[in-house]
């Protein structure tokens, strides 16, 4: 028995909602960052599912570029987190509020 493409899309939506919740709820910058990765991955899953459904390789090429950008984003983001930790001694995003109005 084959799995309909909708099942993959539903799983992707569920993972995206989980990442969404993580970004809104958690205050540890590292965990927020991991939740962002979770959302990126859920979108990758729907890209792959659509590529398979339409028989178009472009979906997989898009995932390739998303992965490249995600890798760069993680490297720069973690560097920023380390820099913040060095100067303010915290990774709690509620403590980093210099720009608060």
């Amino acid at each position: 028995m084959t799995v309909p493409v909708g099942a993959y899309l539903a799983l992707s939506a569920a993972l995206f909602a989980l990442g969404f919740t993580g970004v809104l709820v958690r205050r540890n910058a590292l965990v927020v960052f991991m939740s962002v990765e979770l959302m990126l991955n859920s979108v990758n899953l729907s890209f792959i599912a659509f590529a398979r459904q339409l028989g178009a390789i472009e979906g997989q090429v898009s995932v390739f570029f998303v992965m490249v950008i995600a890798a760069v984003e993680v490297v720069v983001g973690l560097a920023i987190i380390i820099a913040i930790f060095r100067t303010r001694d915290t990774v709690d995003i509620d403590d980093v509020d210099l720009l608060r109005g």
């Binding site: 539903a10 989980l18 979770l38 984003e73 920023i80």
Partner: protein, 167 residues
Amino acid sequence: MELIIFVAAAIGALAGGVGVIASRPPVRSALSLLLVLGSLAVLYLALAAQFIAALQVIIYAGAIVVLFLFVIMLLHARTGEARAEKLRGQRTAAVLLAAGFLGVIVAVLRSRPGAALEAAPEGFGTAQAVGRALFTAYVLPFELASVVLLIGIMAAVVIGRPSGTRP
């Protein structure tokens, strides 16, 4: 057969996703993320995307999660989270928003029932097929990606070095 693989991988991915946002020590979140990434690699294989599945394991599981673990260990001990909420009702609002978002997407999915998948064309999703697309139609974005990676490396070095030192 495909159904069994899908259900197993989906359970793994969802359990890992809950683990990422619910576990208290960040190390456990990182390992849960690893579970999600592994399950997704299995699903990519089921969707005839061998090359992307391999990339997923190498880049995400091999590099990104390891980087997360390094940083967690570097920042050791003081990465705990205060229990008190600064913003009242933040948690409830977040869960409600996410549930509403999920509801909207599921409603959209249900309004357009997708057709069952046909057999993938021969050689779909192999390194050869993806590589051919990358080096013909998408060669410019591919080259730009290398520039972006280089800029990322330089940015990490510049931002990450201790303040006051010259490179």
